[in-house]
Amino acid sequence: MIDFLILSILLSLLVASIMIVFSEDLSHSVITYMGFGLGSTLLYFLFSAPDVALTEAVIGAGISSTVYLVALLQTSVHES
């Protein structure tokens, strides 16, 4: 059961990372990155590392996404 859960979380992380790399809009990438952080939080918790899970939950969902959003606001994207 736990193996199945871990396997499904790993597969969703794989899908999320491919979506982060290949999405057209960069803000979609940031949102998907937050989902990636959520999945890796669950994974850390299942591998019995709640310390790392706490850090990843705050950093991955809150602070790094703000940093990326500010970077997106301050730059412009050229599509060639």
């Binding site: 396997l7 794989l14 491919i18 703000t66 940093v67 606001l73 301050q74």
Partner: protein
């Protein structure tokens, strides 16, 4: 056109490589069975005798590997220093969004998040958490406040820099006291309590209070610099 086609082949190759690596890692992770006597058992054995901390991870981070923690904290300090030099703080908030519901919700949430951060810092040697985690939670509370209140809220820079530098100095002084009293840097200089109480752990709790103050001050300053950046 040609360039685009080669790019697509390359990205497909990268995706294939990533998926194959993930499959291999998954195979390794799901079939991992550590046999016999490992380093973790040894650390758990020493931890019960020398620190009386219920959470063995924090005693590894602060007690057995205190010098590594000092390095991490100084790396964080250097990165904040670089950000503050490169992006001077403007007065205009990039995310100004006025809404009464948001004000009320954040004014309820903000003290709760501060309380939870302080709890995580103080119970670092008993439950999962510690200085880094609690400090980041406190910084998240301040970030929420920056995002909500717009231009009307700013950190007092004197207080933040004073708490940051004082806690960093206290952290190093604790390490040097360990070198002075004991045999190595960051050794145990305080009496140990009983396992599982708030005042057990000895020097671990003090180190974590300093690390929590430092990390919370640094990351909330970083968040303010990012949120209130000048338009480049």
């Amino acid at each position: 056109m040609n360039l685009k086609r080669t790019l697509r082949v390359e990205t497909l190759l990268v995706a294939l490589l990533v998926s194959v690596t993930t499959l291999v890692l998954m195979q390794i992770l799901l079939n991992l069975h550590l046999a016999g006597h490992s380093l973790g058992d040894e650390i758990l054995h020493i931890n019960a005798a020398s620190t009386q901390s219920a959470n063995a991870v924090t005693s590894v981070v602060t007690y057995f590997r205190g010098l590594d923690t000092l390095g991490e904290v100084s790396i964080l300090f250097l990165s904040i220093f670089g950000v503050a030099l490169h992006m001077p703080r403007g007065s205009k908030n990039l995310f100004s969004y006025h809404n009464t519901l948001l004000y009320i919700g954040v004014s309820i949430l903000f003290p709760l998040m501060l309380l939870f951060g302080v709890y995580v810092i103080l119970h670092g040697h008993l439950s999962p958490g510690g200085g880094f985690q609690g400090g980041v939670i406190i910084a998240g509370a301040f970030l929420l406040r920056f995002l909500t209140y717009g231009d009307h809220y700013e950190l007092k820079e004197r207080v933040v820099s004073l708490s940051e530098s004082l806690s960093g100095a206290g952290f190093i002084v604790l390490g040097l006291l360990g070198l002075l009293v004991g045999d190595r840097i960051f050794t145990q200089i305080l009496p140990l309590g009983t396992l599982g109480e708030l005042l057990s752990g000895g020097v671990i709790e003090l180190i974590y209070i300093f690390v929590g103050l430092k990390v919370s001050a640094e990351i909330s300053l970083l968040a303010e610099h990012f949120v209130k950046a000048h338009n480049v």
